[in-house]
Symmetry: C2
Subunit: 418 residues, 2 copies
Amino acid sequence: MGKIIVSANTRFLFSASSETTQWAEEKFHEGVQKYPPAFREKNCNKDLLDKIEAWAQKQHADGISDMIVIGMGGSSLGAKALESVIRHEQIGREKTFLHFWEGSHPTAIAQVLHQLENRKVAALFVSKSGTTLESRTMLALFRQFFPESRVTFVTSHPEKIKDIQNEGEETFLIPENLGGRYSVISPVGLLPAAFLNGNIRTLVGHYYQAIDKLEAEIPFAENPAKKMALSYYKLFTSGFHTNVLWSYSREFHPFMDWIVQLWAESLGKNELVRALPVPAKGPEDQHSVLQYYMSCANEFIHTFFHVDTYGAYSIPVPEYPVISSGKSLWRILHSQMKSIEMALDKKDRPVIEFIASAPNIESLGKQMAFWMWLVTYLAALYGVNPYDQPGVELGKVICKEILSEDKIPENLSAAFEL
Amino acid sequence: MGKIIVSANTRFLFSASSETTQWAEEKFHEGVQKYPPAFREKNCNKDLLDKIEAWAQKQHADGISDMIVIGMGGSSLGAKALESVIRHEQIGREKTFLHFWEGSHPTAIAQVLHQLENRKVAALFVSKSGTTLESRTMLALFRQFFPESRVTFVTSHPEKIKDIQNEGEETFLIPENLGGRYSVISPVGLLPAAFLNGNIRTLVGHYYQAIDKLEAEIPFAENPAKKMALSYYKLFTSGFHTNVLWSYSREFHPFMDWIVQLWAESLGKNELVRALPVPAKGPEDQHSVLQYYMSCANEFIHTFFHVDTYGAYSIPVPEYPVISSGKSLWRILHSQMKSIEMALDKKDRPVIEFIASAPNIESLGKQMAFWMWLVTYLAALYGVNPYDQPGVELGKVICKEILSEDKIPENLSAAFEL
């Protein structure tokens, strides 16, 4: 599955006394008992996988080249992370395409509508509750612009979508207890992956295997998710308040966004949690935010992701007046990451590195399992519920109020004219 | 140009006593005198603009449809921000395309190479120093894959690119004193904008006009950049440590990344500066990080960006079982933003809102001028140099060392196998 390595100055924070370990184990068991992790239930059985593959084959047989995924947050981020690694090996051979309709961005919608002229299109409506405002809005537009096209529904509440479903349209279920951000290994992520011809059996297999290896019953000493949770917890309770998640593999950039949601919504529950996740893209962000992290207060943990090999994609750089001549692009990327790690390390900033074997679906499945457990264990240490998101309800209520009124209230007052 | 509005709980922080104002004015003048802002020099005269437009016309006349922009950070972020708004009005009528080669990502390069088969391609090599590692590497690849194609160079050091330049290839200059992140209104941003048929004269005109209105000589009372700098400074020195920059206009998302670099590299100079910029995308990130901001400690300032109109692109939502029926997409987007602002406000989180008139080049030019001045004035209050980036040098030195050696050093040690 890969490994985790850490900088010298961080190492001491990774060693735990037996007393601390004991305390952590108790918290882990308490947490898992109080908030049972639904993601470890193996709902994706052979029947479901057969049904999903049959669905994908039907779309392909019907000549559908483009699937519009209508969904927000947990309904889209997992599919995007999967798309990114599935695409890695399909360059130049892509036959089917996903389009994500998330926010109500006029230009984005207009752009997709234009692109899809003269193509055969279907939609996947993904909403656990069945009532998500943005998603219903997008579906209304889809029905208008593609009146003849079919929609497949993914929800926990088939009764709530009756009013927007046409006769004969298929529904896949999200298990009721499986929260959106933990739902990627369910029809939510597997339908889009299968549509792209990703190997969903391999994905599910590696995911379940990793889930089992990190179960609450596996003791601390043999459980890297528990170890990593305690290590992060110790860092966050000793003055660090932000986790910068650097991805040095472009295929994993969308996976970082997935982690950010998983982490922020699961842990962000009260004032005692000070552990903001911030994504960063390497090497690009070396040329933007790195200056800040190198020079400002030592309050940031830096977590790096990269892959061990690009196989056939490792493109060599030709002889040229550059120091990188003769090296592969992967080697250059890796050297850049290492140099930033070393520079941060020299300034005593904690550095943690995750190594995945390759930018493929096997690695991603394992990583997803790992992060679901890690975040669950971290929540247990903080004593918070990793599966709800009460903080966002207020905004939704206000939004419905505003939309049902005639005008948008002016809650803010003028400061300056520009 | 638009306006800035603030939440009730933030308002008191926006009012300054005459004593504070006096102190701030002295700091502003001191800062600007010690570190003269090169961005206010009007280098883009008629001759240069003529030359840039002639260059773009020549590319078009030669049938070049695709321009690969080779550059990192300040050499690409401005062009991306411009591309995004220029595209807004060209949907379905795009004739020329930009591709950004930044990091050494094998898959990304392979993807562009595949896309560009059978198309007429040229490159724009943008490097202020002329020696940027990533950019020279990308250029080596470009020369290999497109041996017959022409490269245009943009640099402050024409003597440093002689070894990579072919005979007859054109060079445009970046003024030596104009730092990368302040260089968008120079050939760095204007060549790509002109290639896309953006109106660079309008852009430059609005930018210079806004620059003049915010000059150090314009007193505090009439200078929104000064007012805003002092307001942010007061917030950051009263316990807030992060500025969350929410863009609710997809056209301005890349502009947020531009601000992040401008802000982080200009201000991130020492441990006394605690003002991390973090970009957020609305409404998407309502479904990811918002839970954290609503429930965790009140340490984050929320700055919102939206546009006042989408004109013809404001797509109405048809009658449908949704609360948004009959509203326009812009109205929905706006209501979502307002609801989040109101929810944050109810929990006493500081909210600041920027309103641009439309997602077009006029607004962007003005906003860019505003943020350059704002960051410059903020730097003056902190007493730091907004134009250098000493913190990133160490990483560059280490990277060259690593690349010249045979193997990558193992600086980190194993923590856990996964």
